[in-house]
């Protein structure tokens, strides 16, 4: 069994983002970038499945500018076998990402495609579901547990009401939630070894996918600031304020 894992390079979750003064977007120059957190869970899960002998190959793919390759390299350092980097500039909408991934799936013929449930930059939460639709494969989103039973995947999903268990027929798409596993750190020897693993480079335009944006970003602005609050002297005052002023208890 072969598993394709899609990873995205995003601004590190610990960085306080800054809105560009001209309102055209977010400042990304000289900002620490990392792999989108739930994509780390996706890679971890794929590598774990390979370690149990149920998968034979884990391929990591990313779509984006030159430096996006770093996320693939990191995936290789924690156990992926080889990488694919589809070069594309600027904002690539989820529908376009899904179409690019579809082309790669046609070529690579994986049995499973894993990715994070959502990217923490655009917060779209679309790509996995869209890819599933384009391929006419089943989808298991928000996965917090994955079991492989022959030709079927049993997946526990985190939904608003609690947990839902579904079965999907392989080939399938899984989008991973943070509770799925604990991503490992790459050891230094493995980081060195990863440098020798192959990364195939492709251009989005060569794949015959229309990369044009359908959503125009008119402006990006900071959310309205909260008015500054007050310090209370003690618990009694706090409770009185909550009851009589804010009226929330």
């Amino acid at each position: 069994m072969k598993i394709l894992v899609a990873v995205k390079r995003v601004i590190d979750y610990n960085v306080q983002i800054r809105v560009k003064e001209d309102g055209t977007g977010i400042v990304t120059e000289n900002v620490k970038m990392s792999t989108n957190p739930p994509d780390d869970n996706a890679i971890e899960e794929a590598v774990k499945i390979k370690e149990t002998g149920k998968a034979t190959e884990v391929v990591a793919i990313t779509i984006g500018e030159e430096k996006a390759q770093e996320t693939v390299r990191k995936a290789l350092a924690v156990g992926a076998d080889r990488g694919i980097h589809v070069k594309a500039e600027g904002i690539v909408e989820p529908l376009v990402v899904a179409k690019i991934l579809q082309k790669i799936v046609d070529k690579e013929k994986p049995d499973l495609v894993f990715m994070g449930k959502q990217a923490i930059d655009d917060d779209c939460n679309q790509t996995g579901q869209m890819l599933a639709a384009l391929l006419n494969w089943p989808q298991a989103t928000f996965a917090s547990k994955i079991g492989i039973k022959d030709k079927v995947l049993e997946v526990v999903r985190e939904v608003d009401e609690g947990l839902e268990t579904i079965e999907v027929v392989i080939p399938a798409i899984v989008t991973c939630d943070l509770r799925l596993n604990e991503p490992r750190y790459a050891s230094l020897p493995n980081i060195m070894k990863a440098k020798k693993k192959p990364i195939e480079q492709l251009n989005a335009s060569d794949l015959g996918v229309d990369t044009k944006s359908r959503i125009e970003q008119i402006k990006v602005e900071e959310p309205p600031k909260r008015k500054s609050g007050i310090k209370v002297a003690n618990v009694a005052e706090l409770v009185q304020k909550l009851k009589n002023e804010a009226k929330v208890i």
Partner: protein, 317 residues
């Protein structure tokens, strides 16, 4: 053209966020139709028809719609979508699961999680976990949109009498199967929808100390949250995590206890209506977003807090 909202329900009753979605959808176009697909869901269709903002209900019954599998649902929505300019659902796990599948089948670039309707093609949506707001314009002819329920008021549940039209469904896909659903058996509200949330951070010092928080949560009928630091330290399981990589919450009251206010935590709670911070470090960043800050040792403040609440004894739900 009319707009189509996909109702979220459990075959017996509507999930409450559908009422918020109704309000949002009606801001796009007043000719609002609602699709109720399920199994033995006539009561739901009737409840939807009574919402005054709803002009028409489309009801579809089939066993394979009972558990809302997107493989079955998406083909149905695509079939029904022909006559509509906008397809809408709420941006919770139901809508997030379904709508992108519909979008891709219709070759539409979806606009997720909108918090404001500016015009039928222009919307505001939060990005970077609410650290920035983007105004976006969809250039697709038809639009697929999910809405953030907490950003729109719930529509009045009565006063309407929309017609209910029964329509034919689509075939089952047979590539996915529902097995079971385990609803969280707790007297506490869900973290994502609770009116009050009380969260603990690394300042709690141990998992055992969370009982101080639990006692107050019980008293206030609040959900319990935690910072990533508390989760990473193993004090509490990560389904409680509030923040950019956890849950984004927008309660009426958010109480942060022993939480310094890391960026990633603030991203998950700073839209709350009223924020309380209890921290012994007066310089902690959490105070910059707090409406009421209490600089105190939480191990003294929490028992006092409970005591004061007990004194009130008039807590309304």
């Amino acid at each position: 053209m009319s707009v189509l909202l996909i109702a979220e329900h459990n075959n017996k009753e509507l999930r409450p966020f559908t009422f918020n979605a109704v309000t949002a959808a009606s801001k796009i176009d007043s000719d609002l139709h609602v699709l109720v697909a399920g199994h033995n869901c006539a009561d739901v269709a009737k409840a939807v028809s009574e919402i005054s903002l709803v002009k028409k209900v489309l009801q579809v019954e089939a066993e394979h719609y009972e558990n809302f599998l997107p493989e079955n649902f998406a083909t149905l929505v695509v079939k029904v979508s022909k006559n509509y300019s906008h397809i809408i659902s709420s941006a919770n796990t139901f809508g997030k699961n379904l709508m992108p599948r519909v979008s891709a089948l219709l070759n539409i670039s979806q606009v997720s999680d909108i918090i404001k309707v500016i015009s039928p093609d222009t919307f505001v949506r939060p990005i970077y976990a609410g650290n920035a707001f983007a105004t976006v314009k969809s250039t697709d002819e038809k639009k697929c949109i999910t809405i953030r329920p907490t950003s729109f008021d719930a529509a009045p549940t009565s006063g309407g009498s929309a017609t209910i039209e029964k329509i034919d469904g689509t075939e089952a896909s047979n590539i996915s199967k529902f097995v079971k659903r385990e609803e969280v058996k707790s007297d506490r509200p869900e973290l994502g929808t609770a009116r009050i949330v009380i969260s603990g951070g690394r300042g709690m010092q141990s998992g055992d100390n969370f009982k101080l928080i639990t006692a107050i949560a019980d008293k206030l009928k609040a959900a319990i949250g935690a910072s990533r630091a508390a989760v990473d330290a193993g004090y509490i399981t990560n389904d409680h995590q509030v923040g950019q990589t956890g849950k984004v919450v927008v309660p009426d009251l958010y109480i942060a206890v022993g939480i310094s206010g890391a960026i990633q935590h603030l991203a998950g709670m700073k839209e709350s209506k009223v924020i309380v911070a209890i921290n012994k470090d007066g310089e902690a960043p959490i105070f910059s977003v707090a409406d009421y800050g209490l600089e105190a040792d939480l191990f003294e403040a929490l028992p006092q807090f409970l005591e004061e609440l007990n004194k009130l004894n008039t807590i309304q739900k």
